[in-house]
Assembly symmetry: C2
Homo-oligomer: 195 residues x 2
DNA sequence: AGCTGCGTTAAGATTTTTCTAAACCAAATT
DNA sequence: AATTTGGTTTAGAAAAATCTTAACGCAGCT
């Protein structure tokens, strides 16, 4: 009414992938990494933000970014050093990426260290995330909605929920269940398209 | 090597939509809402978690959930009261939902209050999010990657980056740009499928 | 003009997430 | 057997996100 265009910080900058803050003595976060050229560290930072958009932690994205632009596989210590992360974070992040099929570990005979290397098909990572994250969640949502319907019926019978209100709720939840199922049907096709 | 199946809490429970914690005196978060039947508050809670998965705040999802199962439009105070939120959060959340075309405001002549009502086509919300969030981000990513390529060339020329390494980086970033563009092409189609 | 009630804004508190330091375990080496 | 080294786990620190309190501005009413 009185503000023509209400300001919502999240939406005004929505095309910006969310920022990773950095220590105050070093305002340009991108440059805090050691050992890397500026553009490489920028890339890692970009992937860090992108990872957040997918519900992963920034460090996971940074690690993938580092490996993606690395000509050779890197050890945990090299990863931690390059990105200025603790070894613990590097380890956890790398293992998560492995679970997503985004990276590969290998070991040299001469060396006890693990060496990490990016898989170069990010589409497959996306696909993996869809099938291993999105799909189970949809199933879970479906089940919870079904359960909800039952409990609502009970509430109607006990009088907590009036008849007309129950009808509204029932219809709408049913609609949601239907849509969820549709989406589950389309998902595999979308996976292929993305690829 | 030594741990057959490494445990990653995030992945073992990945089908569970992330929890919203609640105050310790009241371990079952779902029941902390006032004024609502159990199943309705559960639904709001479910949508709260879902919102988080989309990068929105829980309160935004809860508000949408509340309105979605409400037979009449609700005022800000009713929203805040029902979900046990501050009026400020209710206001901000409702406006965000409006920006996403997920809800509608209206006002009665007799009453200065705004009344909020869910739009019942959640697919359109999804579509709106894709076009207003995903698409700009893809464009943004494309631009940053292009810029990166240029700066890398500079780094090669200044000797910071060796020839072979530059080649690897260039190829891989180029591949990423191509994929990004592909995805931008497919996105409108996917939007339709989802609908 | 002064009140009142509604929605918004801004600063700061709270909660949640993410990361780190340090202890720990297993294998390889001495 | 003791030591070293690489990776993992865990408890708690640090950072980021979300929410709340309180102040504000505007409109309609008395």
């Amino acid at each position: 009414m009185w503000a023509e265009i209400p300001k919502f910080p999240e939406f005004s900058e929505i095309s910006e992938i969310p920022k990773i803050s950095c220590d105050p003595g070093n305002p340009e976060g991108a440059y805090r990494v050691k050992n890397l050229t500026q553009s490489r560290s920028e890339f890692a930072e970009l992937l860090g933000r992108t990872a957040q958009a997918f519900g992963l932690t920034p460090s996971v994205g940074q690690i993938y970014g580092l490996l993606y632009l690395s000509a050779q596989p890197l050890s945990l210590d090299e990863i931690a050093e390059s990105l200025d992360l603790s070894k613990a974070s590097a380890s956890i992040g790398a293992r998560q990426l492995e679970a997503l099929h985004a990276v590969q570990v290998s070991s040299k005979d001469s060396d006890r260290r693990d060496y990490w290397e990016a898989r170069l098909e990010p589409q497959e990572v996306l696909q993996k995330m869809m099938s291993s994250v999105l799909m189970p969640r949809l199933t879970n949502a479906h089940n919870r909605l079904e359960g909800l319907l039952e409990r609502m019926e009970a509430e109607k019978n006990s009088g907590e929920l009036s008849g007309p209100e129950f009808t509204v709720c029932q219809q709408r939840i049913q609609q949601l269940i239907t849509k969820t199922d549709h989406f589950k049907t389309w998902l595999p096709l979308i996976e292929r398209l993305v690829k």
